[in-house]
Symmetry: C2
Subunit: 693 residues, 2 copies
């Protein structure tokens, strides 16, 4: 067995290692105590609701997956340069994505109550459990992603001789991952916000209903929502990003095969394998980094998380240098452009730096201590209208610097290593997704732990500890967001370039009317998509409000706290609404590129450019406006002084800030993050149908 | 004198006719009675405030105009294909735009009180005065536009032999018009909304201050704002659109000169002159159409306005057929594309049809009787947060159909007559700007008339009549909006194509990273611009709130209505704030294309595509969200029933709707309409600097 083959087989092995480590971590979590009987009961309700939602969601998605698979297989039958096997890739991609979501959520719904129990005695163990729960999610995502991708690559490489065809077939895997991700993100986002907004507003509509109170029948649904939206939805999202950036790089790397052969390089597919190798090493680094996450009793958990994530990123950056320079030829030429392996490494570093910068900018605009959020808090003094205007302004203004950073990263990484440089810069941001996702998923687990503490009537110091856990990790989460947005833009761009290659389009002259028409249509999609998502949250929240009102009217003793609420009804409403409402926006992403593509592939090129540009803007605007409103509310809850007057919880200023927070909820947790997926999904669909156009 | 020369001189003559007719109409308005002494005093305050603002605004703009003129003259000195004379065009364009704004506003501030007086006795005469006031504005705009453009064209045609150079020099006129328009729209928009939002919110912050009450010291500033924002700002805006669409068509028409010479056509510059001829005939048709605007006592004024605008449009469409087919050769070929004069005519019709359709869609989303607005009203039951979410959703969703219509119009008009077809489709929408603008400006005049009736303590039936005047013309105004958005997009596209020609860019391949980076930056501009505009309104409104509070604290008897408020201070605050805050967003539009252009002209191409696509979306979203919130509030004020419960003025539902209306104010009256100008200004700047790159 030569070195190339050895390396090739080592890649899925790293994935298997990730799954094994995740399995042992999950078993360890399961062995921890669930605390009092009441805690266990509540946690059981949450876990049941979450799994029930996932099962129903997957039932609907199976119909979608099977239909698309049949269509894909049929459309690619008997064609040059493609094969019905693409349908297999698609199904495997969809299955891996769904499985990663299932594993992650299963463990998250175990970790929450165990975190609560650990928080009864101290901070260190609570952090450990919450983070471990997140880690299982992170490692499931990267493990299944790398196993699926590399296995298909190995199998197809033996079945087909043309590497272009192999890569084309693998892009089906990305399509499966992206479409499941879009449905999961949108469905999960609608679920969680319908419950959240509905529970909050029920108190406004019907007198005497307590908001944020265990008696409110929507609270269990709200906690289920955290798991299906922020854990399973985010997992599917990052699975999609991870896979998309790897495949984007593989597609563009395939263009180097003739040049590598020409210079007699031993491994002609080195540029295709490199993203898989980087991802595999990233898994090992993520596992290593997880050992750095520790907090001493009384210490700041933030330091532990930072150590883990930044430690892993730095180690990965150093290793990348050695991997890239030893894996690729020192220098080669393609289409008159001189590539060097060192420049490819610099492109990775540019990606990492851009991600960190976008993250820090995001943090600035959403941080409770900084001018933008304080400005929104101040505007809340004059009521809800000025709160909203200020937040919209902050969100829109916050697009400026990230876009400039992105534009610079695009130009610089392209200058260094062409389109391959752009693709690998995106991969640079995502190589340690394993630990990043662990930090991200740790947030909703801590949040859930706090909810359980409240509902189970535990002493206030438990809630204080879980709040402390929840509050930290903001910086790391912001940087994760930066990576998500940055990598989405770069990956969409790489996929766009790959589409142009595969569709044999010479040039997409944007001043041509047909392409300009496509550009306008593409730019419109994130707006319409957001409108659909917001409308869905509004309708579902309305149903929830009515149900909460009904229960308070019809169940005697509920108001007094002597009779239990019918939690299951609320869970059911959120589940049904989310499933029903996710279909239309999800289909938008799949159907539009197909319809436009068969009208004109040039117009489809315009659509890709439009959806990427307007998508990046809308995603940043919505996430940051929502984040800033949320923190302005929190800032006021911690009492804030303006011109000698102190404003705090319960004041009119706080009420205005709550309006901002509620408006921001669907923006930052439903439509905003879904747009990142939408733009990549449209690009992947275009890439997959390119040979048919 | 040959026919060509005769036609050429007839064009400015039509402009002179428009100004003469405007002058006589203005004199007739001046001769009408101003009613009681109190009415005259109030109207005097409004007129003084408006003129004072305009004077200060123009003082600042003179510095800008002189600086840019010097730079333009210097940069174009001693270069091939251009000349420092472009600075003269620029100054003339800026001057004509400013003059049109001045005339229009001067007359509007006379017409308002006279409309109030006429409304004391009946509806017919009031409509007549209000519409005549608007007509003076409309005719000043088109008269000065056509005189300026055609005079420069005649003069330069004699000075320079190369038609390409002549057209390039004339584009300076458009630059002058666009830059003044952006400052006027933004400045006027900030002024009017600072006063409006400030006056409304003062009551919220300081107890016992009446909102919407003559005692509120910000009311005069609010009425001044209607004039500087909705009359002068809109006038500059439409002057810019009108001039931009004519010049865009002229630039593209110049490409046909060699072909016309080749086929031995008598008038080789026919395609360059055609837009001027259509505009000149449009002036005559507008004047004719104004005679159709009549209402019988007790009749519906809507019918009168519709008769005028639709009558003029239909007559113009019919005349266009004869003008175009007799003016252009029946058929000619350029770059392998066969053009026919009949197809050019069809392109005009497509432009008109697209404008009307966008207008009707706009009306659907903003109409008090239709589902979107009723939906927002219903969501107001659950509070301000759901009102805002619903309105954002309606605004975003409302982008879908107009964008599809636009995309179809772009593809169809290009299919019929190439880029020239797109440009002339835009012109088709704007050929009867004279009467359209009259209908648009009629709105704020009636609004002001109502304000004066209230402040002068006239009997309620007067206010009822002015409200009736104000309420009609919604359809016509919506169609005007459709024309504004549609023509802005098409004109920006035509200017974009013209830029590509002038900058000698072969192809702008959007999948190239440098262009993609430009696309992202361009798409970001409308977001940042909107954030600046919203921030400016917020800050200025804050100043206003403080001043109103100070007066109520410090002026004894103000609260009781026995002492007069210090109106002038509020006028001063709005004026200063508007002037101060308009600079930065205004400079954004001028500087970004220059900076980007000197980095890379390809990147500038990307910026143009980005700002056009995201600008169209943001403009539609913001205008329609604002319009829908406004009408949802109005709908509730007229009492609305949901599920057997009636919600009306003063209810919590109404309060929630008021929040929506206030949020919508800066969106629909400051940032939204300014974006239409922003995207054209950036394109014109690019066009003007193209020979220097």
């Amino acid at each position: 067995m030569d070195t190339q083959t050895l390396v090739l087989y080592a890649i899925p092995a790293a994935g298997v290692l990730a799954l094994l480590y995740a399995f042992f971590t999950a078993s360890w979590i399961s062995r921890q105590s669930t605390g009092t009987e009441k805690m266990a009961t509540i946690a059981g309700h949450i876990a049941d609701g979450a799994i029930a939602f996932l099962k129903r969601e997957y039932k609907v998605l199976i119909i979608f997956v099977v239909s698309v698979a049949i269509l894909l297989g049929w459309a690619n039958m008997g064609r040059e340069g493609t094969s019905p096997m693409i349908a297999v890739s698609f199904v495997v991609g969809a299955f891996c994505s769904a499985l990663a979501g299932f594993f992650g959520m299963k463990v998250a719904t175990k970790a929450n109550v165990r975190t609560t129990h650990a928080a009864r005695t101290g901070l260190a163990e609570a952090l450990n459990i919450a983070f471990s729960g997140g880690l299982v999610m992170g490692l499931s995502v990267v493990g299944l992603g790398i196993i699926g991708l590399s296995s298909l690559f190995i199998i197809y490489s033996r079945m087909f001789t043309d590497m272009g065809e192999v890569i084309n077939l693998i892009s089906g895997f990305s399509l499966g991952a992206s479409s499941i991700a879009l449905f999961a993100r949108v469905g999960g986002g609608i679920y969680t916000k319908a419950a959240d907004v509905g529970a909050d507003l029920a108190g406004k509509v019907y007198e005497g209903i307590p908001e944020d109170d265990p008696r409110n029948p929507a609270t269990i649904a709200d906690n289920v929502g955290d798991n299906v939206g922020d854990v399973a939805g985010m997992g599917a999202d990052l699975f999609e990003s991870y896979v998309g950036s790897i495949i984007g790089t593989m597609v563009l790397g395939a263009a180097f095969i003739p040049m590598f052969n020409e210079i007699g390089f031993t491994n002609p597919i080195a540029a295709v394998m490199l993203p898989l190798v980087l991802a595999a090493v990233g898994i090992l680094v993520s596992i290593g980094g997880s050992f750095l996450v520790k907090v001493k009793e009384g210490g700041n958990p933030q330091n532990g998380l930072n150590m883990g994530e930044f430690g892993a990123s730095i180690i990965m950056a150093v290793l990348s240098y050695f991997l890239i320079t030893s894996f690729l030829p020192a220098t080669w030429t393609a289409e008159g452009f001189v590539y060097t392996s060192v420049n490819v490494f610099y492109a990775v570093i540019i990606g990492l730096a851009a991600g960190v910068m976008i993250g820090l900018i995001t943090e600035y605009y959403c941080s409770t201590d900084k001018a933008p959020v304080i400005g929104i808090a101040r505007q809340s003094i004059t009521g809800a209208a000025t709160t909203i205007i200020a937040g919209l302004g902050v969100g829109m203004m916050s697009t400026a610097l990230p876009v400039l950073v992105l534009a610079a990263a695009i130009v610089a990484s392209h200058y260094l290593a062409g389109l391959y440089g752009i693709a690998i810069a995106a991969l640079g941001m995502l190589s340690v997704t394993g630990i990043q996702l662990a930090v991200d998923a740790y947030g909703p687990i801590s949040d859930n732990a706090g909810g359980i503490a409240e509902m189970a009537g535990l002493p206030p110091e438990v809630r204080e500890r879980t709040d402390k856990l929840d509050a930290v990790g903001n910086t790391t989460a912001a940087i994760g967001k930066g990576f998500a947005i940055g990598s989405a833009a770069l990956t969409a761009l790489a996929l766009f370039a790959a589409f142009r290659q595969q569709a044999h389009i010479e040039s997409l002259d944007i001043s041509q009317p047909i392409i300009m028409a496509g550009l306008l249509i593409g730019a419109m999609l994130p707006f319409v998509f957001s409108a659909m998502a917001m409308g869905a949250v509004g309708r579902a929240a309305g149903d929830m409000i009515n149900e909460v009102g009904r229960q308070f009217r019809e169940i005697p003793g509920l108001r007094e706290g002597t009779a239990p609420a019918e939690f299951a009804h609320c869970v059911d409403i959120s589940t049904k609404a989310a499933i029903r409402e996710m279909i239309l926006p999800g289909m938008l992403g799949v159907l539009v590129p197909v319809v436009v593509g068969f009208i004109s592939k040039d117009m489809l090129g315009g659509v890709l450019a439009g959806v990427t540009s307007s998508g990046v803007l809308m995603a940043i605007f919505q996430s940051n406006a929502g984040g800033a409103w949320d923190n302005a509310k929190k800032r006021i809850e911690g009492n804030i002084e303006f011109d000698g007057v102190v404003y705090g919880k319960g004041s009119d200023t706080h009420k205005a800030a709550v309006v901002g927070d509620t408006v921001g909820d669907p923006l930052k947790d439903t439509s905003g993050p879904s747009i990142n997926i939408l733009m990549k999904l449209i690009a992947v669909v275009a890439l997959v149908i390119a040979p048919l156009l």
